[in-house]
Symmetry: C2
Subunit: 386 residues, 2 copies
């Protein structure tokens, strides 16, 4: 059976890799919808190659331009949130690849869940901000949320067929980013270029900065808590600079099962798309004898307070994880715009969290209110510092 796929964020790193996997298996997958922010050239190429029936761009102006370029193709072009929701709820779509960067992915992903779509999730912000209501909604409708992050995919692959009641803990690995061994003095002076120099993975800028602060791992901890319905006390982070072991599960008998591979996102992406099968991917294989050595160490929460903030946020719960995420988005953007220093990122997140009055989340609107508040508050802190 051919699976019909919509990709939210098709011109980004994950979206492009997903299309690469799809292109290798034309008998298995058919692209029905695509969305992009504003990279018209790239999405036009994707449209001509994969022939979706509907696409959406961030704004009306870009949409109009794309429509003119694709006038000869039988395709509908939309824009904005309305367009995103159209693509994520497309009746003919079986799977929605949620690969928009940041909190902008929340509403379209939630719409996909409500429309009963299988979600292949790369947008961790959806789970960080609204994990409880997303998973409730998914469970109610009996739909699957399949992880595309390498770490969550690792846990998901290891648990395939296993019993969650036998799990003692899950261990998310983290490369430690480019600043694992640098002093706080050096990190204070770190430039945008320094922070973007990730040792193993080639990713978007936002997630690369999050890897340098370990906030990315913090967000993944929160995502894991909801995705796998485990207690936060069962989730550990382990620094593993080689990024070969993508994550592990420790069972109650002391056995630890780990998923490994070369650091290539096509493996977890393909696993989510083809689940419950594994595709025959022709790509470089892991050669542990060549790798030679895998190392592991405990994360230093003092050196990387963002990880600690994430644990605090999910322990407190309610709107606090959304505030953590939104204030971090503001701070990272300010850093990329060179308005603040690298160490200011965690300070902005911390200050915004401290000022937040935590509320319980009943609806997606509660999340949006907290998100708005956190952005304004974080901007205020950025201005104060900058």
């Amino acid at each position: 059976m051919v699976k019909h796929i919509s990709i939210l964020g098709s011109t980004g790193s994950i979206g492009s890799s997903a299309l690469e996997v799809i292109s290798l298996f034309p008998d298995r997958f058919k692209v029905v919808g695509l969305t992009a922010c504003e990279n018209i050239d790239k999405i036009e190429m994707q449209i001509r190659r994969f022939k979706p029936s509907i696409v959406s761009l961030a704004n009306e102006k870009s949409a109009k331009k794309l429509k003119e370029r694709c006038g000869n193709l039988n395709i509908e072009v939309f824009s904005g949130m309305e367009g995103l929701i159209r693509v994520s709820t497309l009746p003919e779509a079986d799977i929605i690849v949620s690969a928009i960067a940041g909190s902008a992915g929340l509403i379209p992903t939630f719409s996909g869940v409500k429309a009963g779509k299988t979600i292949a999730l790369a947008n961790k912000e959806t789970m960080v901000m609204a994990g409880e209501i997303i998973t409730q909604e998914a469970n109610k409708r009996g739909i699957r949320i399949l992880p595309m992050d390498s770490e969550h995919s690792a846990i998901f692959q290891v648990m395939n067929g296993g019993r969650w009641e036998e799990v003692h803990k899950i261990i998310l690995t983290a490369s430690g980013g480019p600043f694992l061994k640098t002093s706080s003095e050096e990190r204070k002076r770190a430039t945008v270029e320094d922070a973007l120099r990730h040792p193993n993975w080639n990713m978007g800028t936002k997630i690369t900065i999050d890897s340098a602060t370990l906030m990315n791992k913090g967000l993944e901890v929160i995502e894991a808590r909801w995705l796998f319905d485990v207690s936060i006390n069962q989730i550990e982070v382990l620094i593993h600079p080689q990024s070969i072991v993508h994550s592990m599960v420790e069972f109650r008998d002391g056995s630890v099962i780990a998923q490994m591979g070369v650091p290539d996102m096509r493996i977890p992406i393909a696993y989510a798309l083809s689940y419950t099968e594994r595709l025959d991917l022709i790509m470089p294989r892991l050669d542990l004898a060549s790798v030679g050595m895998l190392t592991f160490e405990k994360p230093d929460m003092k050196k990387f307070p963002c990880l600690s903030h994430a644990y605090d946020a999910i322990r407190e719960g309610g709107t606090l994880p959304a505030v953590l995420n939104s204030s971090n988005e503001v701070a990272v953007r300010a850093f990329l715009q060179r308005r603040i220093g690298f160490l200011d990122i965690e300070a902005i997140v911390r200050e915004t969290m401290e000022r937040h009055k935590v509320r319980h989340i009943d609806t997606i609107e509660d999340v949006l209110v907290a998100d708005n508040w956190a952005r304004e508050e974080a901007e205020r802190v950025v201005s104060k510092i900058g």
Copy 2:
């Protein structure tokens, strides 16, 4: 439901560990039969503690002595092969733990299979010598052979619920033994004490010498070929001196799944006994941050020719793996008796294999004939060298 268990070789390393696991879960397991070679003191203790209904010792003299000591207990005492077969075919036994060292385990294990028992297999010689007919018999009766070796248990745990047709290869790890880094000159002069100094595992003498020659890994390669019904070309060996990763499976999508743990045989033993569940074992947990580093390298087949002989034997097939195993047993015993040097072990195996006329195996008797021939031939080579 309480599982009724017979243990062949209860006073050995694996047998004792199995009883330790059983003693922790009296609601799950009941010991019904035990066998030992000649350690009367130890088996008497085990009898008083676990109250089996039948036991067997290697010879009549020991059996008589034991009977006198246990006169007040309601227990039947047998001896020799007849006794072993009685214990392995005991009507009330659900699981037979096959933990006799060496080729002596073949006939009682085969008898257990024919009697329709689930086999918890630690005796790899059964599979090395007669893998094809053992697995045929097991398949015919629909019975399971559950591995207790840490490497095979690792593969078995990883594959739980997975699809064998998606497996690209299996990778058995090997510590490399005490001579991984020694020169051939040093290995030539190696004493029994040197060879018994295994870096990670505390095991019986025969298997410890086999670890030093890598013959143990060779036997495990052959065992894996039958246990998992994979082609010999799909089985690789990787040196991993820390013995933390117990083995791995590489899937066709490039994903590698590994089972890890502290080097403690109680984990794989418990997994086999409690399969399909995992027991809540209270024991030291793997702490990868403390371990710090895992290393991997390709095995050196020139330095450790026994591994190469094992691949040759299974590629050729028929009676040759049995000859490999039996000649190795003779050579290791001669080494332990200080009649030959360490490097003579591989030479004796090689020479015996070269002199063997390979036959097809149709019955267990064909195996026994080859085994006999190999022992006599290997003894002749030992005498020539010694």
